[in-house]
């Protein structure tokens, strides 16, 4: 078991140990220290392992779970993004019902920079609520017909009919007012153009207009800018007694590839514990009892942020930090009244 004050969360066969934060002044004089920004700056580390167009993976080291978790929660539910909120259906003779189609439309991630729109004023008059500063209009007008040039003998619907499959890319952006200039270089398109919305047969048609507004994930998941935003703690593997020979190979096989290496003396060593999934397989083997100790580093968070495509993943994290900061500063500025 890790000793008191250790920064390692113990992972044993049937339990976890040392799970609580204990770095508070009131907890113990030796462990806890008062909040000190300079001290934090010295301890804090940020390493980016990769950032692609859709995914970011980075480590935050030296902060508490409560802060790390706040960023994760904010990325999921409080960073604003744009989605279809109102659908005006003029005609829908397809087999998919109006409300189901509307729901599907709402879930399509759109490539819109949320900073280019303002919030809709919920208290405003119905006629003045939506304007070119806070609403984006998309339209979908499709009719399915027979394909006069269909190849004989090929019975696939794509060959027999035109517009038999309706995809997200069929949504057309209709710039309103000054959006003609502001959105000139950023036409609104779905992030993934190949999302299937509906299937039609000759004679069926869909005609609708959709209004997109700003929103946050806690209101509806469609406004969440991330597919997933999660963190895990850095795994730690301590080999307490040398493991050699055939045992070393077996030991290596208890972990995902790349975690454990075997040196020229035939001894197992920890190569890259970051790759470990902490499956605890090694603890099931009698022969490794007492030879290995598993744990996680309490203040080393490995984030994985997967964007839906509307924003860059690093931007989502950046905004989450900004949101938390704004929350603190806003409450700081509010007068404290009495509850009556």
């Amino acid at each position: 078991m890790p000793e008191l004050g250790s920064n390692i969360i113990g992972i044993e066969e049937d339990r976890v140990t040392n799970t609580h934060s204990n770095d508070f002044p009131a907890y113990s004089q030796s462990l806890g220290s008062a909040w000190d920004l300079e001290e934090f700056k010295k301890k804090f580390q940020l390493n980016v392992s990769f950032i692609t167009e859709r995914t970011a993976n980075f480590d935050l080291i030296g902060l508490d779970t409560s802060i790390a978790n706040a960023f994760r929660r904010i990325m999921i539910s409080e960073v604003p993004s744009v989605a279809i909120e109102y659908v005006y259906i003029f005609n829908n003779t397809s087999v998919i019902q109006d409300e189901v189609l509307s729901h599907r439309l709402g879930l399509i991630p759109l490539k819109v920079d949320p900073d280019m729109l303002l919030w809709v004023d919920k208290t405003a008059d119905e006629n003045e609520k939506f304007n070119d500063e806070n609403t984006i209009v998309l339209s979908l007008n499709v009719v399915c017909t027979r394909n006069p040039n269909a190849v004989k003998g090929d019975n696939r619907p794509e060959n027999l009919y035109r517009n038999s499959n309706i995809y997200a890319r069929d949504l057309k952006f209709e710039p309103q007012g000054k959006q003609l200039t502001t959105f000139k270089d950023f036409p609104v398109v779905p992030c993934d153009p190949d999302v299937l919305l509906a299937k039609l047969r000759p004679g069926q048609e869909i005609s609708l207009k959709a209004h997109c507004i700003l929103g946050i994930g806690s209101d509806h998941a469609k406004f969440s800018p991330v597919a997933t935003a999660s963190y895990r703690l850095m795994p730690q593997i301590d080999i307490l007694h040398p493991i050699t020979g055939q045992d070393a190979l077996e030991f290596q096989n208890c972990f995902p590839s790349g975690v454990v290496g075997i040196n020229e003396k035939g001894e197992a060593y920890v190569k890259d514990s970051r790759k470990d999934t902490v499956s605890r397989e090694v603890l099931r083997h009698e022969k490794f009892k007492g030879k290995v100790r598993l744990g996680r580093v309490r203040d080393h968070f490995i984030y994985n942020v997967e964007s839906t495509g509307a924003m860059l993943p690093e931007e989502v994290f950046f905004k989450s930090v900004r949101v938390l900061r704004n929350k603190a500063e806003y409450i700081r500025s509010c007068p404290i009244g009495n509850l009556d």
Binding site: A26, F50, C334
Partner: protein, 140 residues
């Protein structure tokens, strides 16, 4: 924050609490877009203001837990806890008890300041790292 600054802040806060009614009026005269509903003191706070519970609306575990952590890091604080009394009400309660040297409001404000400084530093560090472009752009 240096000790001197802290002292200044405390003095400022003390004067504000003494002349609370007049400053509130001043603020109202200046501009009345202050949010009077966001945070309130719950009944039952001690006379000297060292023990108090606050109710913050439209906040949840995101701020509650982070704020509790940073307030508990303050050595003047004997106890800090938060709760969400009912999941259908968007209210969050924070309880603060100090050892008596500072008021709960001072401690709360220091917590909020510390939290925003922390965020500011993370923001800057992250921005610098991303702009340095010293990382893989392909998923391994």
């Amino acid at each position: 924050m240096s000790d001197k600054e802290e002292e200044n802040n405390q003095q400022k806060e003390e004067t504000t609490s003494k002349t609370e009614s007049s400053t509130v009026e001043d603020a109202e005269m200046e501009e009345d877009n202050l949010d009077y509903e966001k945070i309130k003191v719950l009944p039952g706070a001690s006379e000297d203001g060292t023990l108090a519970s606050f109710q913050i609306v439209d906040e949840d575990h995101t701020l509650g837990n982070a704020l509790r952590y940073i307030i508990m890091k303050n050595p003047a604080v004997e106890f800090c806890g938060y709760s969400i009394p009912h999941p259908s009400e968007n209210k969050m309660n924070v309880r603060i008890q100090t050892y008596g040297d500072q008021t709960a409001v001072q401690v709360l404000h220091k917590g909020l300041d510390d939290l925003s400084n922390l965020c500011e530093y993370i923001e800057d560090t992250f921005m610098a790292k991303v702009n340095a472009k010293d990382f893989a752009t392909e998923e391994p």
